[in-house]
């Protein structure tokens, strides 16, 4: 199995900050899955997800990461949840 992640890893805080810049009310929980600073899972809760499909919600997070997805941070598993008031 080829290695899916061979590019500079991103710090967890950097991921959280980038997400919160675009999604200000986001609650972000990040787990480093493999302890290698490059396989993360992120659970994001925000009211801005309300009424959006999962694809749209995940795209909001990818956009927040400004195109780093796929390139620098290949292995970020996402879970999004609508924040209810």
């Amino acid at each position: 199995m080829i290695n899916c992640n061979s590019i500079m890893p991103m710090e967890q805080k950097e991921i959280e900050n980038l997400i919160k810049i675009s999604i200000p009310d986001a609650e972000v929980t990040i787990t480093d899955l493999a302890g290698d600073n490059n396989h993360f899972s992120a659970h994001i809760t925000s009211s801005l997800f309300d009424g959006k499909t999962r694809i749209q919600q995940h795209k909001m997070v990818y956009d927040a990461l400004e195109g780093r997805m796929g390139g620098i941070l290949h292995a970020l598993s996402l879970k999004t949840t609508v924040k209810k008031d």
């Binding site: 199995m1 795209k59 598993s77």
Partner: protein, 112 residues
């Protein structure tokens, strides 16, 4: 992405009910995320076409532009982009994937 690549992707998507753009193929997935989606589809015994994007850099990058989605794998059902690994896994776990196949009249084994 030039028209030739876009047309090639479109015709691939139109040619089968279920198309998975992945790294590797169903027998030899080359990435854990692609492998996870292959497993979900195999578990539901869904007939699908596997497209190994590692065979063509044009397709590998073109599909990301085509769907405006930055990663591989990408699952398409009856021409519609369903999602990548995270979304397909979540749909599989909640039963929504099986429900989608039922709604789209795609043969599969419903397992609860």
């Amino acid at each position: 992405m030039n028209d030739h690549v876009s047309e090639s992707i479109q015709s691939t998507i139109d040619s089968s009910d279920v198309v998975l753009f992945m790294k590797g193929n169903r027998e030899m997935p080359q990435c854990g995320f692609s492998n996870a989606v292959v497993n979900a589809l195999s578990y539901l015994e869904v007939k699908f076409e596997d497209v190994d994007v590692l065979q063509s850099e044009e397709i590998r990058e073109g599909i990301k532009v085509f769907s405006d989605w930055p990663t591989i794998p990408q699952l398409y059902v009856k021409g519609e982009f369903i999602g990548g690994c995270d979304i397909v896994k979540e749909m599989f776990e909640t039963g929504e994937l099986s429900q989608l196949f039922t709604e789209k009249e795609i043969a599969h084994t419903k397992k609860d």
